[in-house]
Every structure is written in C-alpha cells, then in structure tokens.
C-alpha cells in the first residue's frame, strides 16, 4: 500500500492502463507536452509519445467525436476536458452519438471523458460547474464520481475497461487536497457499486464527490451530539446502486441527500424519488436534500461559500430531520 493524492491516482490509472493496453490513449487540449491544465497527464507524453497523448485543436465536439470513432474501431480513448464546463460543446456527440450507438445499431463505444468539475476554487460560472445534470437523463451513458484516491484510481481503470461511454467526474478541488492509500497491485472499483464511507445507525447521508468529505466533517460534529451518521458514497451516479441506497434507508430510516450540484433536477431528486417509490414504509421522515441553490456558480468568495453546501448545512438538515 502507498499513499497518493487524488490527482496522482488518476494519473497512475491512466499510466498503468496505457502500459497494459496499447489501445488506450489520451486526447484533449494541452494534454501532451504541457501535461494538461491541471497537470494530470504530466509526464505521460514523454512516456507514450505524442500520438498516444495527443494535443488536439480547441474543439471539444471534434475531439470527442474523434474519440467515439476511434472507439468504434477498437481503441479506448480517454478524452480530457480542460474544465468539465467545456463538455457542453461536446454534448451532441455524447448524447446522440456515444450514448445511442450501442442501442441503435450495436456499435460499442468505449470512451472515457474525464471532466474536472466542481467549485470552491473561485472559478465562477464557467470553471466550477457540476455537469452530471447535463447527462443524468441520458440513457446509454455511465457517470462516475470518485471521492477518494482509491476510488479515483479504481473507477478510472474500470471506466477505461468498460465498453460503454463513461463520464468520469473528477472533482478538481480534491486533486491535491486529499490523499489516501491504494494497493500496489492492479485493482478496479466496479462501476455501479456504491460504498459505505461511514457506518452509522441514526441517519443516512447519501452523497458523492467532494461532498463525501463535507458529510464526514458533519458526521464528526454530529457524533459529539450523539447522532450516528451512515454515509453512502454513491461513486457511480448513472446507473445508481439502488440496492445500496435501499439498504441504508432500511437501516436508518432517515435520509439526507447531499450534493454540490444545483438542487432542481439534481441527482438528489432521483435518489429521493427512488426511496419514496421503493422504501416508503421504511421512512421515518422526509428525505431532505442539501444542495446548491438554483443559480450559476457565483464568483466571489462570500457568495460561493454560501452556494456550496457546507458541513453546517448538513448538520442543521440532520438535526431538523432527527427532530421529526
């Protein structure tokens, strides 16, 4: 075992998969010599050459489409969006080509789109978005969002080996801020499986991405107040691990869904609706959503802090729920 950052976990996953399988390659803006805007691909172009770590023209739709075509003939491309926000320019290729190829005519499209997403970095509306909502209603895509270095590595490997288009949401706030241990040997974290980030008995917090850490912070505060939280880290957002969700509901009977994404039409809505539909009798209170308000991500420090759910917001939601 060794301790590495979230960023290095992503890099290692790519490095190892590229070494293992020559059909894996990376393309995007400035991923080559420069090593990517966040330096996630640093060093890989030296190792694998400019055709496997390929700088593209500034054209998200073009290079995402190209990844799709390469995948159709047997490659396993990893597309890097410079910021997740720019994935909007590739929306059509992802939604209408990648997502529908296999269903429509049997064309498997094993691409991974790495999307550095999320706020807390004073990036404003165009460099902070959570983009899972763009794709959450699109059958045919898979969406993952790791919260630890371990999952970042294992989920990226699983995504690369998966035969479907996977949107890999890497939270850029976590890149260098978190570290945890990963095995020396090869492993994958299967797509479609949530994990219990913290076992608990009184209330469940269902979340993913950077918010897992916010939930953990809240759980510490609540522990002092005698409230035991179970934290479910979804890891895969599409499709959701319904079994894991239902299990925790059946255990604690009280649920808070937490995400950084804006509230309306977010992942939390689906989680809440599923629980309502299938675990209604197990609920001892409403499913409360803690999420960003329905606005673009504001720039200034004060507004952004108010925008992004904080530990204290989770605490007060849970306290409200416990009083129910």
């Amino acid at each position: 075992m060794k301790e590495i950052t979230y960023l290095d976990a992503i890099k290692e996953a790519m490095d190892e998969e590229m070494a293992r399988d020559t059909s894996v390659f990376i393309l995007g803006e400035d991923v080559g010599v420069y090593g990517g805007a966040f330096r996630v691909t640093e060093g890989l172009s030296d190792k694998y050459g400019e055709w496997r770590v390929l700088d593209t023209p500034l054209s998200e739709s073009g290079f995402t489409g190209a990844a799709i075509g390469a995948a159709l003939v047997g490659m396993r491309p990893i597309v890097e969006m410079q910021f997740a926000d720019f994935i909007s320019c590739a929306f059509d290729q992802l939604v209408n080509v990648a997502a529908k190829n296999h269903y429509r005519w049997g064309g498997a499209t094993p691409i991974v789109v790495r999307a550095p997403y999320g706020g807390n970095i004073h990036g404003g509306a165009f460099h902070s978005q959570c983009i899972e909502g763009f794709f959450f209603n699109i059958p045919g895509l898979k969406i993952v969002a790791p919260s630890t270095a371990y999952d970042a590595k294992g989920l990226l490997k699983a995504s690369i080996r998966d035969n479907d288009p996977v949107i890999y949401c890497e939270h850029k706030y976590l890149y260098r801020r978190i570290k945890d241990t990963v095995p020396e040997e090869d492993y994958v974290v299967p797509i479609g499986k949530a994990r219990i980030a913290l076992e608990g008995t009184d209330v469940s917090v269902i979340t993913y991405g950077a918010m897992v850490h916010t939930a953990l912070e809240a759980s510490q505060l609540l522990k002092q107040k005698g409230i035991s939280c179970e934290i479910i880290d979804l890891r895969t957002i599409l499709p959701l691990d319904k079994k894991a969700i239902f299990n925790t509901v059946k255990k604690t009977n009280k649920v808070v869904v937490l995400h950084e994404q804006t509230k309306t039409g977010g992942v939390g809505a689906e989680v809440s609706a599923l629980i309502n539909e299938y675990c209604f009798d197990y609920l001892d209170g409403p499913v409360i959503r803690v999420a960003a308000p329905d606005t673009p991500v504001p720039y200034s420090a004060q507004m952004e802090e108010a925008f992004i759910p904080q530990g204290k917001d989770v605490v007060s939601a849970i306290e409200k729920l416990m009083r129910y």
Binding site: G69, H102, W105, G106, I191
Partner: protein
C-alpha cells in the same frame, strides 16, 4: 486510372440496385406499407455507389442518409434493409432504428446519426486510430451541402488535416438542404472552397458519374492510405425528389429538374457503356433482372419477417451491462 470491365459492371449493378431498392421503398411508402418516412438518393446514387465501391474490405464508411449504395456495397443485404424499412426484427437494427439509420461494424459501416456532419469528427477518429496503429486503412465520411454548415464539419475537417489522417470527406452537393438553396447556405460558389480553411486538398467531381466519383475517391484513398492526409471531394448533383417523399419540393425550379433529368446517373452510365463497348443492352438487361429479383426477394423477406417483441426495446442499452443490474 484504369478501371476493369468487371468493376464497371459492378458499379452498374449497385447503381441499379440502389435505384430500384429506393424506388420500391418509395412505392411502399405511398402505399403506407413501410414504417415512417422515406428519404432516398434518387438521381444522386452515383455518389454513394462510387465512393463506396472504391473502398477496400478493411476500410470503413461513415455515411449519411443518402448513401444507400454504400450500405449495399459493404454487404448489408437488400433483405435486411427492406426489413429495416418495414420495422421488422430481421432489419439491420432489429427494429430499434428505421429506414436509413443503419450501421453494422461487421461490414465496416458506422451508424448514421441524424445530426448532420456528426460523422465527420467520428470518421476522423477512426482515421486517427488507423494512424496510431499504423494500419493501412482509410475511412470515407459523407454529408450533404447543408451539413457542411455545421460546427462538426469544421472541427472534423480541421483535426483531420492538422494530423494528416487517412480520411476522405465526401460531400453530396445536391443544391438543396431540405428547402434551403445553396445561396442561403453559404456565400461561396463551390462547397469545395470550404476545404481551403483547413489547408486540405479538394476535388470537384460530377456526382452523376459513378465512374468519375469512383476514380476520384480511389485516388484520394490511395493518397490517404499512404500517409498523404485527407482530401475533400465535392460531388455536384441535383436532388430529384423532395427532401423526403412527403415533400413536393415546389420550391425547386422545374427547369433545374428538367436539366438534371437528362444527366441521370443510370442513363449516363448506360450511354457510356454503349459508346465504349463495355456492355450491350442484353447484358445490362440481365443485370437489371437480377436486381429486380433481388428486390422482390427482399420485399418478400421483409413481409414475412416477424415484428420485434415489445420487450426487445429494453435490451441492448449497454455493451457492458451493469453487474446484477437492478431492473426495478
């Protein structure tokens, strides 16, 4: 470039097969016997036949919706295509898709996504794969004149040219995009001028001459195959029906249609065959009989084929299904 007699006859065969298949589809549409609409390449078949026939077995085609010739040449049978039109289980996509929304990797044909020009970047990606792997394969991607106005046209062409990828871009310039004439689509005379923006060589060919299209495509494939990079080929033609069969195309001047009727690609080829002693009426009639029989069989096959089951629609979303997927 020399072209063998047997290839000429094959070109003629596919031209006829495409023509008769789509004519039959048109009739069936008007009889209400196929499911959904009917878009055909009527009068412009030489394009898909020409560029499709010039491809080699391991090459790939990324077609658009007026490329019936390509589907047939690559080996997707008239039977499966007809069943596709009928919405049957034996259709190319098992009923998941309709009409020309066909793709089959077994025959090196990428699916056509309706969104025009999307296949330009997608094709570019296949070419990139060939280049990365050092394979001597090429891909041909096609769209209409209207499709060249889309951003994906630009992004695909540019990327392919920067990296000198083995792809040939075909444009079926049939003077209209639905009701929109060229002059409202672009402020240039020839679509081929678009290629200048990418430093990409281009050619303009008579899209009603299958042999000319074939030769131009073959030449461009050879260049691409040998590391010379992409070419853009504008095939000039004229759309002879409405955008689809429900469109009477009143917006098209009669004279234009009259003029182009004289340049029909089938007639053109027959005349060429006669003049150059490639084949006589009898031989061509023989080919035509074969084509007719094939279409009849295809229709019978389609008619007799079963419809898909309603629950088939739930299958095939993912290539890697989720472990113990919880269907709730």
């Amino acid at each position: 470039m020399d072209i063998k007699r047997e290839d000429l006859l094959q070109l003629y065969y596919y031209l006829k097969l495409t023509r008769r298949l789509e004519e039959r589809v048109t009739s069936l549409y008007h009889q209400g016997r196929i499911l959904g609409g009917a878009w055909t390449s009527n009068g412009t078949e030489a394009i898909s036949v020409g560029y499709g026939y010039a491809l080699e077995k391991n090459d790939i085609a990324a077609p658009y919706f007026r490329d019936m010739g390509v589907f047939l040449i690559r080996g997707i049978s008239a039977k499966r295509i007809m069943a596709q039109y009928f919405g049957k289980k034996t259709g190319v996509t098992g009923g998941k898709e309709g009409n020309v929304h066909i793709g089959d990797l077994n025959f090196g044909v990428f699916g056509f996504p309706s969104h025009l020009a999307d296949n330009y970047p997608v094709g570019t990606g296949a070419a990139l794969a060939f280049k990365i792997r050092g394979e001597k394969r090429v891909i041909a991607a096609c769209t209409g004149d209207g499709g060249t106005s889309r951003g994906d046209f630009h992004e695909g062409m540019n990327f392919a040219s920067v990296r000198k990828l083995p792809i040939v871009f075909i444009c079926n310039n049939n003077k209209y995009a639905y009701s929109t004439p060229l002059k409202l689509q672009m402020a240039i005379k020839d679509v081929a001028e678009r290629a200048l923006a990418y430093g990409m060589p281009s050619k303009i060919v008579d899209g009603n001459n299958a042999v000319e299209v074939y030769k131009a495509a073959k030449e461009a494939y050879d260049i691409a195959r040998n590391g010379g990079g992409p070419t853009f080929i504008e095939c000039k033609t004229m759309r002879m029906h409405g955008h689809s069969e429900h469109d009477s195309a009143k917006y098209v001047p009669r004279e234009l249609l009259e003029e182009w009727k004289k340049r029909d690609p089938v007639l053109h080829m027959e005349k060429y065959f006669m003049e150059n002693n490639v084949a006589g009426k009898e031989e061509l009639d023989g080919i035509d009989s074969r084509v007719k029989k094939e279409i009849e069989e295809a229709e019978a096959f389609a008619e007799e084929s079963p419809y898909p089951n309603p629950e088939d629609g739930l299958k095939g979303l993912y290539a890697t299904p989720i472990e113990k997927e919880q269907r709730i």
